[in-house]
Amino acid sequence: MMLSHFSAVLIFALCASIVFGITQRTEPRKMALFAGYCFILFLAGTMLASWVMWLIKR
């Protein structure tokens, strides 16, 4: 299997967010909101770290 770095991040973030959402909240609506929040944080954090590494390399 071949994955791009971004697709690997997407899959990782999706799976981890689902588990975090279900386990860290009690109501279904709050679970979905927290899962979405985690997903966005995963992606934003990765992109931010990527740009920081790009700047360090320059």
Binding site: M1, M2, L3, A8, I11, F12, L14, C15, A16, I18, V19, F20, I22, T23, Q24, R25, T26, E27, P28
Partner: protein, 134 residues
């Protein structure tokens, strides 16, 4: 997380069963408690991560007392329970890691085990009343 102060947590047989079953089969602890959708989502998330890790030619750690990171990797992998046992029985994840994607795969496998432990403990908390069941 909401807790029930009036019902002090206690380890019942069902709670222990949910913990053990949830560890062996991802999401099964929640299914035992009648939380079918949550159990199915947890199963899909953990199994997908584990399977993608293997498909990326990630390494499945074996018991070891060498490098601390290898020992931690084994502890993480062990969290996947039945999936880890299946991988060892089938001989999956034994190829040496040679490319960056395979290293990603190794991390996917470790994290799937850690997520499975979180899910199993959540099932335990639901069963013994420590976490409110909605």
């Amino acid at each position: 997380m909401t807790t029930h102060a009036e019902n002090p947590p206690h380890a019942s047989g069902k709670a222990n069963a949910a913990l053990l079953l949830g560890w062996i089969i991802p999401g099964a602890g929640h299914m035992l408690l009648g939380k079918w959708v949550r159990g199915a989502l947890l199963f899909a998330a953990v199994v997908t991560m584990f399977w993608i890790g293997l498909a990326l030619q990630g390494k499945v750690y074996t018991p070891n007392f060498g490098d601390p990171l290898d020992m931690l990797g084994f502890a993480g992998d062990l969290g996947a329970g039945g999936l880890y046992a299946l991988a060892r029985i089938m001989g999956w994840g034994t190829a040496p890691v040679q490319v960056a994607l395979a290293d990603y795969g190794t991390k996917f496998i470790v994290v799937s085990g850690l997520l499975n432990v979180i899910a199993a403990v959540d099932a335990y908390s639901l069963a013994n009343g420590r976490k409110a069941a909605a």
